[in-house]
């Protein structure tokens, strides 16, 4: 009797002893996580939340006394320079994104084929993707000078010389070519990675069913590539929304405001005109647009099950 009692007590103690570190562990797992997360959370707070909050705070304050008001926004929306910046950014986005993605898709399809010396071409197209846009601006800016190699090439094939960056009609399109030199290869890399994951069996089955290459593209490649394609579309849109270096280095937004993209407008407003509150208001609008696009991007990176 006594023995049985004491033994059951022993078991209980043993149970307790075994349970204790376990419950201790579940409690501390959150605490451990807090320690591991702390530097990244501090980084988020200082590098993203604080400046966004500061921009919003500044944008809603007006006058020397810093009273609360909407004047920065009403001024911004009545400012022709801001209108031009929005129009230029919109036009730029509407052309550069479809252009880069169409080129990237075509190039990815070509590079995914079994070509002679295939790895060589893939490497050569991939290599410049990490080249800074400032380098692209420096080199391509000279290429597109009126007396530069681009016009020399046109002359050789019998076409008239173009103004490129010097005319308001062509400057924005020249900037599009300049950012695409690196951009197309960059997005090609994503699409090529996506193409590699399409099972070869799908194409083999389609060939047996007598599908031609257009039908294979339309009914296998495109649907299978939908996720990487949408990802590239969204990420490309965000990246091109913020193009700055080529504009700042080559045109300063000109001629006649034709290349005054929104990042350049914010920079010029804040640092050349000294209107930090106006720049803050414009930053607020930019972040609002970008957050919407980024939310879509995040859904696509994580939410595969939502189909």
């Amino acid at each position: 009797m006594m023995t049985a009692h004491s033994s059951s007590q022993d078991t209980a103690t043993a149970h307790k002893a075994a349970a204790a570190p376990k419950s201790h562990r579940t409690v501390s797992e959150g605490a451990v996580a807090a320690i591991f997360l702390a530097p990244a959370i501090v980084a988020v707070l200082v590098l993203r939340i604080w400046p966004t909050g500061l921009a919003l705070w500044q944008s809603f304050h007006v006058g020397a006394a810093g009273r609360f008001g909407l004047a920065n926004y009403t001024f911004l929306f009545s400012d022709p320079s801001f209108h031009d910046a929005l129009a230029a950014t919109l036009l730029f986005s509407l052309i550069v994104n479809p252009f880069q993605i169409a080129c990237a898709l075509g190039l990815a399809l070509v590079l995914n084929r079994d070509l002679p010396a295939g790895p060589l071409w893939r490497t050569l197209v991939l290599l410049p993707v990490a080249v800074p846009q400032s380098v692209s601006a420096i080199i391509m800016g000279v290429v597109f000078r009126p007396d530069g190699p681009a016009n020399a090439l046109l002359a050789t094939i019998g076409l008239p010389a173009q103004g490129f960056l010097t005319t308001p009609e062509q400057a924005l399109y020249t900037i599009i070519l300049i950012v695409s030199w690196i951009g197309v290869g960059y997005w090609t890399t994503f699409l090529l990675a996506g193409l590699k994951e399409i099972p070869a069996a799908l194409y083999e089955a389609a060939v047996i069913d007598g599908a031609n290459s257009w039908q294979q593209f339309r009914f296998i490649t495109l649907p299978q590539l939908r996720r990487p394609l949408t990802f590239v579309l969204v990420a490309d849109t965000v990246a091109n929304f913020l193009v700055f270096a080529p504009v700042q280095i080559l045109t300063k937004g000109g001629p006649q405001g034709s290349t005054n993209l929104i990042m350049n407008d914010i920079y010029a407003r804040g640092f050349l005109s000294g209107d930090m509150r106006g720049a803050a208001a414009e930053t607020g609008i930019l972040v609002a647009i970008v957050v919407i696009i980024v939310a879509i991007q995040f859904r696509m990176m994580t939410g595969a099950k939502s189909e």
Binding site: T26, A33, A40, W50, P51, L120, V129, P149, T189
Partner: protein
């Protein structure tokens, strides 16, 4: 079965390769010829356009004895420290978001990735005011700090960590290893490809940076390579030989890194863009 090649796709691949490399080659050749020759042989285009009559290293020597040497050193230092510190911070965060179980994990994950996905440049102007208030202008810390937290790097590492079975951690715990030991002795050694991929993301971000260094480090002693070459273009009397030399050197380093780590780069792209 005999393989037949269509000439069309090959022609496109060759043309794209030429288009990707030719501007760099032309800039490189221009840096190696006397400045007077750079625009001399353009029209009509001929073999002389790309083949100098004489090769000179004057531009390169002048380039490296000027401000550019310092800027290149700054870029290398800032980028190396960004990758090192960034990998520690991002992999620790990814570990907490993948290996540890606690309430609110998915909320923290969503909040962190979405905040970091807000492109850095969009908040660079107000952040530069914050950094000036913190007295970080014209300093290496000011240049490095914005690059150390990267949403894509955290995301990539977390996806990889999720694939490491929890049984490994539990077995290690029985052997007396704590969470920190599990992180450094199990997760980090098993995740080399993901760490290289994340390192490349951090590297490319920092090496490409232009707007931020322009805002936070106007002092020439703290110029990075991308700002330094742009300052050539802004001069009244542009020295094209030196400018092209600087541009090519600034391009060569990331190209070399990419050439070595190509495989990991493509793999990291695949996991952010296409995996289900």
């Amino acid at each position: 079965m005999k393989q037949t090649y269509h000439p069309g796709p090959l022609a496109i691949a060759v043309a794209a390769s030429v288009a990707a490399m030719l501007p760099l080659i032309w800039a490189g050749v221009s840096a190696l010829r006397p400045s007077a020759e750079i625009f001399q042989y353009l029209s009509p285009l001929s073999i002389r356009t790309l083949v100098p009559t004489q090769i000179t290293f004057d531009n390169i020597v002048a380039l490296w004895s000027g401000q550019f040497a310092r800027a290149m050193f700054n870029s290398a230092l800032v980028t190396a420290l960004t990758v090192a510190i960034g990998l520690v911070i991002c992999s620790m965060a990814a570990f907490a978001l993948a290996a540890l179980n606690y309430r609110g994990r998915s909320v923290v994950f969503t909040a962190m990735i979405v905040s970091f996905l807000i492109p850095f440049d969009s908040i660079a102007v107000p952040l530069s005011q914050v950094f000036r208030d913190l007295d970080l202008q014209n300093s290496y810390a000011g240049l490095i700090l914005p690059g150390i937290g990267n949403g894509l790097a955290v995301f990539l590492l977390r996806q990889f960590f999720l694939g490491i079975p929890r049984e490994l951690s539990e077995a290690a715990m029985v052997d007396g290893l704590g969470w920190f030991g599990i992180f450094t002795k199990i997760y980090v050694p098993l995740s080399k490809p993901a760490l290289i991929g994340a390192g490349l993301i951090l590297f490319v971000f920092q090496w490409q940076a232009y707007l931020w260094p322009l805002l936070i480090a106007p002092n020439p002693d703290y110029h990075v390579a991308s700002v330094s070459i742009a300052s050539f273009a802004g001069q009244y009397d542009v020295d094209y030989g030196q400018m092209f030399g600087g541009a090519v050197f600034t391009a060569l380093l990331p190209m070399g890194v990419l050439l070595v780590f190509q495989r990991y780069f493509i793999a990291s792209f695949a996991s952010t863009g296409s995996k289900d």
